[in-house]
Symmetry: C2
Subunit: 160 residues, 2 copies
């Protein structure tokens, strides 16, 4: 779940701080801590994972309630995505590249929660949206989640 160009977490966090400011809020120490965990983690993490992580070498210990609050805030301005199919959270892959992106599509490894965020071609979203329209439903969705196996977990039953 890393950023597009390979940037250091601190660089990404600075972009995030600026991004918060644009939304009239601040990237407080604890928000920064949660976001940093997600940026550094290769895998999607649950709120309780993040709370647990805060108890090892982090600046502050966070209770789950605080983690949820912080995640909600980070989501609200688009720095974090919630993966509904996994009940886990990831940092947006485009924090440092000034947004204006296509609909995100998350490839989620069923086994290890490794996540890749890729863009969905507009043509695909358009077909999907128009299929929905014909049934009277209006598409709200701003992300697609797909159950996958990552390359490591896909290694087939060697010697099975």
């Amino acid at each position: 779940m890393n950023q597009d160009p390979i940037l250091k977490p601190e660089v990404i966090l600075e972009h995030a701080a600026r991004y918060c400011a644009e939304h009239g809020s601040k990237l407080t120490t604890k928000r920064r801590q949660v976001l940093a965990s997600l940026i550094t983690s290769k895998k999607a993490l649950s709120a309780y994972d993040l709370a647990e992580a805060s108890r090892h070498g982090a600046e502050a210990t966070l209770l789950p309630m605080s983690v949820y609050r912080i995640l909600r805030f980070l989501q609200s301005i688009g720095l974090v995505h919630r993966l509904a199919t996994a009940n886990k959270y990831v940092a947006c892959a485009h924090i440092a590249c000034d947004h204006a992106h296509t609909t995100p599509q998350f490839l989620i490894c069923k086994i290890c929660s490794d996540v890749k965020e890729v863009g969905v071609a507009n043509s695909i979203i358009d077909s999907i949206a128009s299929a929905a329209e014909t049934t009277g439903f209006r598409l709200l969705n701003d992300q697609l989640e797909l159950e996958c196996l990552c390359s490591e977990c896909a290694v087939p039953e060697l010697g099975a």
Copy 2:
């Protein structure tokens, strides 16, 4: 979440019973009861909704644990789909039409849980799968879930 042609629940349940038999299992009274609730319901239901429903006028009262077990069984043979983004369950829309269908795509009303199941064009699934392949992920997904507003809930803020 109704069946393609408009059929009576009993007719659909008979198809389901036959379908179970083909899989070497049986549509017991309680499985039938759960499936009937889902078929009759216009909306997706949670396991606890189904347990609750079993306490009003149904033949048997079901504990949540039983409901989960029954849902897992019905899913395993394809009579029921779980909507991961909503933590709810729906009857397959094609129980009575002898399967061989395309990947299902669920349009889920964010507000009222009304669900429409439509087929996804193979071309779309193919593009998605190949996009996944290029990142080293193998697509497992056998369904797409899309957050929508149904025609009733989409009525815009009249007089707001």
